[in-house]
Symmetry: C2
Subunit: 453 residues, 2 copies
């Protein structure tokens, strides 16, 4: 692999909400440059998620390290007529100089638990809100969905097929990353291989079969063209007839030294087709040829196929993974928790937050399963593991990021540590998260500070 | 505005599925370079969509015009060990040299109606599948959702607030475009202003209020900092108390020549708060101050607020717009319809397609409402307007693209031309789309060609 593989370009600092810039101008004008603490967290879990899986920190840190306004961006902003020359000068010199503390990617978390804290001068901490949420929300969303698929089919080969219906370029790319992190084995998205070293997989499309007048000829042609990876799509016209053609083709290919690795089903009753196709392949002596299924799959359909005992060796999951279709957005937020040494919190109806710098402590039972979390103030002595750890200081990473492979392995152990009920697709009883007395007292103090104690 | 405003970088050609490249190698090896015809269309409408709204053509044409493999991309592909030097040489010279025919952006369409046709040498037409779907699917998805919001609140100011929970960078940017095209008035996403000239809007965040110890001081400070656009967020602590503070602040600001334009509500029962806040403002002589609402809004909630007569002048719509949350993906496809002059179609269960090059004819009644479409073969004489028109030849646009303003205006007229039942949020009776006899005969011929007539 070359040293500098192709990457998706990082979008500039203008990928933000207008109000970040107008608020920043207000802060800068009044010299409100004291240290602010913001935390990113998600609110209540939807019924079809027993846990969230933290993801996206790596891209968030990249963003913070690269944050700056290019001359063309300042020039364009100047043309809006909203910003003063003094403020634009301030932006020209702005870099992210703060601290980040975070939960490791691949850690399960629950409602109200922060997974990232920014401690920085107020304008810096404010400016980064929109893109930090955009990055952390999406990968957490997809990793949380992918983990469910992985838990539903722990012994199956799982491949991300979702690029085409992912929401744009970056969604396709980062969904491949989030899926792989959560335990998927490969992605069809080539750029995900180039940028993240994710193993690539792919079979063939119906158009390849259709472009040939004869289906068997299409299979033979494909096998000769890509002898390393012969997986044949057999549902273009008649699945079982095509499986028979595969059986007839196999000896001719074997004579040429080519082994058929698998067949793919993509429509109809996948369980029924898989059983018939498995029978045809086995009777034809092709016991080693695997059956791979795709086509509108999600964790529920995969679970049903597994329960039925469908002879399927792997699944391609596309749309439902890359859009997290049953929960296409999480109720998450990035909120000011402290400014100039004083706790802050919002009290809007149904959206009140816990103020201050928080730590999440996680306890484990004798079986190694986590059994309860405590949300405490930083510095309070909790029990178990402290999940929020420093990762960036003065705008620079404290250590090189772990490899995606290492994150994936860590995630596997984290999923293993979940209590069995949480690993199930069915809604589990709520995981216990307690809030420390000190934190409750701080919330009252924060309210008194704004005259509502 | 400078001549060259900041833009999101276009992702490279590796944003594709691996199988496109492996199939291409097969085509090139066997000299299967004849003309192929692919069409992009969506299958059945979900119950909560009465029509789709075509969008994304502009980005699709950009992609086709810029398509090429850079040396670093070829180098990386070579390292995979899957591709022959001959094939990599072919890729080095590959450009899109074909034709595109398409429905104009902003045109409503229905199940099985193509909105884009590619006519090109098979490898070119095949390669572009993944990214073309990725681009057309997403903007069509969001424009179709946005149109519902626009139809639910035709006289209200509508602003896209969705960047943070959009699925990544490109989703945030292109959702702003699709929303604006469908009739939204502005977006909070700064890059959408820079790249597409979309009007920007924004108010303030809770953190701005929280960073001040006194809410009224925060309001006054914000107004002085951005006197052009004073919209105050009043739900951080107590909505009605904050509205009273706005009344008290107004004369002081007026003395400084600053007019408060509006207040924003973001939580609780928006209708009830709006009525109380409107009363407080009016009693305080602030009849001209508008009330803007946001917070988990979609077309149904907005419709309910409108029916209740809530005194709200505009809505910020975020997550539900940018993720099309009730339908986060469309069942759409890009399928081979003809190769080397012969019709092709897929017959997979539940996914059979109509072969050949198709035209969509739309008829209108005396009231100017469209009243029925005919799906016909190109060249058949239909009734009404032919919606599929040439836009690219030999890989180059036939004419400069219309401005986004012009597309938005066209879209407004198109939405006006929909029958009233289709403009409603409730499911409408199916819009009549007939399939011509000639097309049905071609489908039979395509089946006979592969021995299944």
């Amino acid at each position: 692999m070359p040293l500098d593989p192709p990457r998706l370009a990082v979008p500039g600092v203008l990928l933000t909400d207008l109000y970040q810039l107008t608020m920043l101008q207000g802060y800068v004008e009044r010299d409100m440059l004291d240290t602010a603490v913001f935390e990113f967290f998600a609110r209540q879990l939807p019924a079809c998620r027993n846990f969230y899986l933290a993801a996206g920190l790596e891209q968030a840190l990249d963003y913070l390290e690269q944050l700056h306004f290019a001359p063309a961006e300042l020039d364009w902003l100047s043309g809006l007529g909203l910003f003063s020359p003094v403020f634009l000068d301030y932006l020209a010199g702005l870099r992210f100089s703060g601290e980040v503390q975070a939960m490791a990617e691949g850690t399960p978390f629950f409602a109200d638990e922060p997974i990232l804290r920014i401690t920085a001068p107020l304008p810096e901490a404010q400016l980064v809100e929109s893109r930090l949420i955009n990055l952390l929300h999406f990968q957490t969303l997809i990793a949380s969905k992918a983990a469910r698929v992985v838990l539903a089919a722990p012994d199956k080969r799982l491949v991300d097929f979702g690029l085409r219906r992912a929401h744009g370029a970056e969604a396709g790319l980062l969904a491949a990353r989030a899926g792989y992190l959560a335990g998927f084995h490969a992605s069809a998205t080539v750029l995900a291989g180039a940028q993240f070293g994710i193993p690539l997989a792919g079979t063939m499309a119906h158009s390849f079969v259709q472009a040939h007048l004869d289906e068997a000829e299409a299979f033979e042609h494909f096998a000769h063209s890509l002898p390393q990876s012969v997986v044949l799509l057999i549902d273009t016209y008649d699945t079982e007839a095509a499986a028979q053609k595969v059986v007839e083709l196999a000896p001719r290919l074997a004579a040429a030294g080519i082994r058929i690795q698998g067949v793919r089903l993509d429509s109809g009753d996948l369980g029924a087709h898989a059983r018939r196709v498995r029978g045809i392949l086995d009777r034809g002596g092709l016991n080693g040829v695997t059956v791979f299924a795709s086509g509108n799959l999600d964790e529920y359909l995969i679970h049903r196929l597994m329960v039925e005992g469908a002879p399927i060796d792997g699944f391609g999951v596309g749309t439902h993974l890359d859009t997290s279709s049953d929960v296409p957005a999480l109720d998450c937020a990035y909120k000011l928790q402290e400014y100039a040494g004083q706790p802050r919190r919002k009290r809007s109806e149904g959206k009140a937050t816990w103020p201050g710098r928080k730590q999440v402590w996680r306890r484990y039972d004798d079986a190694g399963h986590c059994c309860g979390d405590s949300l405490m103030l930083e510095g309070e002595a909790g029990e178990g593991l402290a999940l929020i750890q420093p990762v960036m200081r003065q705008g620079r990473r404290l250590a090189p990021s772990p490899s995606l492979q290492a994150v994936r392995e860590y995630t596997r152990r984290q999923l293993d540590s979940l209590p069995p009920a949480l690993r199930d697709l069915e809604p589990a009883p709520g995981y216990p998260v307690t809030v420390s007395e000190t934190l409750r007292e701080l919330a009252e103090r924060a309210d008194r500070l704004v005259g509502r104690g």
